[in-house]
Subunit: 529 residues, 2 copies
């Protein structure tokens, strides 16, 4: 059995046990879970950041192969403790064991995916413009550039993915892959899960001979510990997954620093779904079933939960609505992650019911974190008139928006804020007929889905888990998939340097065999002398 | 002869002649130049932005070939008016004709370089992860992503490059290449130059059948017109080259919007130079000559001007210093771009002289914009103690910092803010012996130069004209070279879309023949069915 001590990880040391105590709550029972976690002190924050900055000096110089070995050592370590980690996470989040074991696989999978990316090495976008000493009117010097890591990165753990977006989640994996030390501000809802994971990382740091400051994990409040980290001059980037309020605060803090830094926050997304005529004609009931599964998956606490569904008032809509109402009415209660999330869900549901027709099932809820699935229905004009209806509702509820016809969808889409995803259901003919709607949605979302559901975010090369504000702070980046590494790297150009003193990626002989651009042309060939 | 009317360009219309008048000043004579330029009205700003947003709907959908033709048409148009544009720019800036004709070539060269990039097409970083319908436990959907344009971009013209960083400069070229409409806030120091250039662009818009809102150019104050543009909800990105004060104001404004947007500002850089022992031993005088040319090029008004030079107190330093002092003393006066720049130069030079030994030549200056070259010398400890000494000084002056030995360079480098460039002079053995200094400088600058000078920024694929704050607002981007296109694009993912409805870049057959990643592997092959 692995031991939990309740202390922060500060390089290869553990924090004091004297800070303000934080307790995880079992959402199923409302009981406090042992041990108490001690908030990091100001000195511990300072030490973690200083160690990270020191570690950067050597870690930034490690090659892709070493970093790959390190990431794989973390994944291997996590494989060995799958079961106890999932069990602790289950106590802390009430998420089902199967889901947590799946999330564990996703977590190790993304660590190994980034290992493969940095081992292959072409991600650095190496570019070489060879010297042209005889060019007129001016000679051209030898210019070689590539992406290099930014420096220490602060990662805020997310409540809804205690593994895949937390201590060793996608942000940590991509930052470490890029060559950046990581300081995690652990989420207070799953401190024990974070401790188990951080133990595995600490062991990998030691086993791989990495500098100790390459990873720290601090417990404490977002405002105090989080704020101190984001404002620290040695911190060079921040990532966060959570609420719009929290994310915007961090963005503002990062932008107001004497030296502003990149702050990628993934915040609010309601993930609109548009049902085109062919969809309801051909498979109204199966769409209702898929939609129900999607908006209640993880008790509706996914960033990509479909939270607004536009449907046309046509004959076939009846079958869709009937099936959906029936599924919602028959559903057992859901247990949310924290009492706070459950309270917010209940409040927003009550507010929303004042504007909309509501379908609620009648099960009794037995604990403070239990809630019922809910369905709200409004006509488009009400939706457009009441701004609050387009806000995110975290939990197993969704909003159905009745439109006179799909002709109204463009008006609806034009009114939307930024989202992580937008979904279209229909026949290929429907899509063809709604090209303008697709073009509009492209401006509003990072991922556009046809005949599928937005939950179940693939961790792969082509994935984009981003989108215009307020979905994220900067639509040019993603927090899932291998593109997410670009959040943590900047191009650096070496002019006129001797070949021997260049990084391997830029040496004439291309010893790493990576894909580069020479005079703009992609090639793996060495540079011709 | 081309006619100047003094009116803004709002799509294919010209602005009213009723706004507050702006006059260019001839810096050589102090005289006002005709015509008066009318500041754009609030309605004109609104109309330019609305047209840009409308244009985006169609311009974003144009293919690389059409955009390339458009960029080349602009370049061809500028080729036809090289002489009159350079003449007007000479009147407005006092920069020499040869330099302005060279800058004109650079301007058309970078338009054509971006044309080649978008015509080739691989810049969009297309990625395809094919569907895996039989994967367990979950099938993988078909995922395809690529970079897509952000939307309307506001470009602030720079004072010091009336062509290459102005109406049709690098920001405009890269934004148009990415698929973004551009609204230029013309710099008030060279309104006539901007008008001539905008005439050529307006003709290219019409000739190529582009939507009129793809380009507008507005006259007016940075605070009023610039501020209104940056705050406008339909504007999606901003670029600026200029002072730290102005750039930071725009950053703060962009970050404080209800919907924050990317704001790339290139601001303050003093471009440190480190002289290693071998350099002074082998070529002290030629380094002095090169340095003098570099810091007085363009009257010292380049972003990459070497404004601080660290040298060791060794015997050979005498030859270097003697030569440099002699060149400065013998130099004829320089004419700065505006009376404001000349006043600032004089003020900072006076302040600096209070802390440093000064070498000033004795030529008389005859007009308000004329100044003398200046050299300031301080010991390292004074430099480290007085923060103001590391600020940018725009004009033909530089600061020499005496170090007891190159061993002190690491301390000096560690104290530096972000810069566009850092330069090392020495032998290869010197470099080898100063690897830690190089690693430190890599954290401080976007480009590191060996045995060269930072001025003369090549517009190419490998160039990086960026760097940590305050050199720029975001070190992950560059404003010169083909990498600069990435400022204006965001990844968008299409999931489960029919092949026929995908952009050409993502179609299975790869009809554009671009380099893509399929399951992470780079290839130009079509997707295997």
């Amino acid at each position: 059995m692995m031991e939990l001590t309740g202390q922060s990880f500060i390089g290869n040391q553990r924090g004091a046990q004297t800070g303000a105590p934080i307790h995880a709550i079992n959402p199923s029972t409302g009981e406090r879970l042992a041990p108490a976690y001690s908030s990091a002190s100001a000195e511990e924050v300072e030490r973690a950041v200083t160690l990270a900055a020191e570690a950067f000096q050597t870690y930034a110089q490690t090659d892709g192969r070493s970093r790959a070995a390190f990431l794989r050592a973390i994944a291997d370590g996590l494989d060995r403790i799958q079961q106890p980690v999932a069990e602790r996470a289950h106590l802390e989040t009430a998420l089902p064991m199967a889901r947590l074991l799946g999330e564990m696989s996703r977590t190790t999978g993304q660590l190994r995916l980034f290992a493969a990316v940095v081992e292959e090495g072409s991600w650095v976008q190496a570019r070489i413009d060879p010297a042209l000493p005889n060019r007129k009117p001016l000679a051209r010097p030898d210019l070689r550039s590539m992406l290099r890591p930014l420096g220490p990165v602060v990662v805020f753990g997310a409540s809804n993915f205690p593994l895949a977006f937390s201590a060793a989640g996608g942000d940590t994996a991509s930052a470490l892959a890029a060559g950046c030390p990581v300081i995690v501000k652990a989420h207070s809802a799953h401190p024990g899960t974070s401790e188990l994971v951080a133990q595995a990382i600490a062991k990998a740091v030691a086993d791989c001979g990495m500098p100790e400051g390459v990873y720290s994990l601090l417990y404490g409040s977002g405002v105090e510990i989080g704020g101190a980290l984001v404002r620290h001059p040695l911190v060079k980037a921040v990532t966060f997954t959570g609420s719009l309020g929290g994310g915007r605060k961090l963005m503002d803090m990062a932008a107001a620093r004497p030296q502003p830094i990149p702050c990628f926050t993934e915040m609010s997304s309601v993930n609109p779904v548009f049902l085109l005529p062919g969809a309801l004609r051909d498979c109204a009931e199966s769409i209702a079933e898929g939609l129900f599964s999607s908006f209640t998956l993880g008790a509706g606490q996914f960033c990509t939960k479909p939270g607004m569904v536009f449907f046309p008032e046509q004959g076939e809509a009846g079958a869709f609505l009937g099936k959906l109402r029936q599924l919602v009415s028959a559903a057992a209660p859901f247990t949310l992650l924290t009492p706070g999330i459950a309270r917010d869900y209940a409040r927003i549901a009550t507010e929303r019911a004042a504007e909309a027709t509501r379908t609620t099932q009648a099960s009794e809820v037995s604990a403070s974190c239990q809630v019922n699935a809910q369905l709200f229905e409004v006509p488009l004009d009400t939706f457009l008139a009441k701004r609050a209806l387009s806000e995110e509702i975290f939990g197993p509820g969704t909003l159905l928006i009745r439109c006179a016809s799909p002709g109204e969808y463009r008006r609806a889409a034009a009114s939307l804020d930024g989202h992580l995803t937008a979904t279209l259901w229909g026949s290929e003919e429907d899509l063809e007929a709604h090209r303008e709607l697709i073009a509009l949605l492209e401006e509003k979302a990072g991922r556009i889905i046809f005949n599928g559901f937005p939950t179940g975010v693939e961790v792969s090369h082509a994935m984009v888990h981003g989108g215009p504000y307020p979905a994220t702070s900067d639509s040019r980046f993603t927090s899932v998939g291998t593109r997410s590494i670009f959040r943590f790297a900047r191009p650096v150009c070496f002019q006129g340097f001797p070949d021997a003193l260049m990084p391997g990626e830029l040496k004439a002989a291309n010893p790493l065999g990576i894909l580069r651009q020479i005079d703009g042309v992609f090639t793996r060939e060495p540079l011709q002398k």
